[in-house]
Symmetry: C2
DNA sequence: AAAGATTGAACTATCAATCTTT
DNA sequence: AAAGATTGATAGTTCAATCTTT
């Protein structure tokens, strides 16, 4: 059942490899808008929230560590896409607020992402999309017990 | 056709998320052997080659940039798992050579990886494994036209 | 000039430690 | 003490620039 002497790439490496390729593709598309996947994630979260948000809440939404958000917001602030404002309700807290420029760049980024999305997954059959979605969810959930 | 007000996570984000989870799981398992996925990749490449290899060739095998290999080998050398040796045939070239300790650690790492592999994908039906493999290969190949 | 390797800068991410405010 | 945020260290990665050897 294994005639060819071809080395079977382990499934987990195939997954990591595919993700790396996809990531690179999206990063390249976003670079034209001066964004990155991480930065777009911050902007999306803030735009969808519709109001300034404490950095720690941002970290929760992005499923990452707080110190990561600190640096991300540093760079976004340097780009002029976000500003830090004091939280009137809690002086420990600092809110991240999207600027008008940030909103504009988010829209540009969203468009770019949409194109790549279409390019990479547009030709997939609906069944395949659903299968892939289900399998990935299963893997992400921790493996075995579905 | 979309009764629930549930926000559908885009497929590419699901892919990146799943990969991130899997990566974290393997990194955690390898950390017990003092390794990482990247370090294991270098060791595997060298062990499988059976002989010392120029850093640039290593970069080719690992599909990464040369400067990355330089730093990776720096750390592996500091760990005592790899040594740099001069290439007798070409004085520009520097060969990476696995040490005995490096071989031992590679075996430990491989065992650890096998366990996690079983844990994460062991319960998958053969069909599912094949489907996932096929879909990931298709995505990695650049998307649409399979 | 071209190839092999290194260095320095930047981005993303984590962890541990710290500082301020509650 | 606990919560919010920052800083400093480390890992991994890329890119651009540099140095040596061919």
């Amino acid at each position: 059942v294994n005639d060819r002497a071809q080395i079977e790439t382990p499934l987990w490496l195939a997954l990591l490899h595919a993700a790396s390729r996809v990531e690179t593709r999206f990063e390249a598309a976003l670079a034209e808008s001066g964004l990155s996947i991480s930065k777009l994630g911050v902007l999306r979260t803030l735009v969808e929230a519709g109001e300034p948000m404490p950095l720690s809440r941002l970290a929760g939404k992005l499923s990452c560590v707080k110190s990561n958000v600190t640096q991300l917001v540093d760079r976004l602030e340097a780009d002029g896409l976000v500003v830090r404002v004091n939280d009137p309700a809690d002086r420990r807290s600092i809110l991240a607020s999207v600027t008008a420029e940030g909103r504009a760049r988010f829209e540009a980024g969203r468009t770019a992402v949409g194109s790549v999305e279409q390019e990479l997954f547009g030709a997939f059959e609906t069944v395949d999309r659903e299968r892939l979605s289900r399998l990935l969810a299963s893997v992400a959930k921790g493996g075995c017990g579905s």
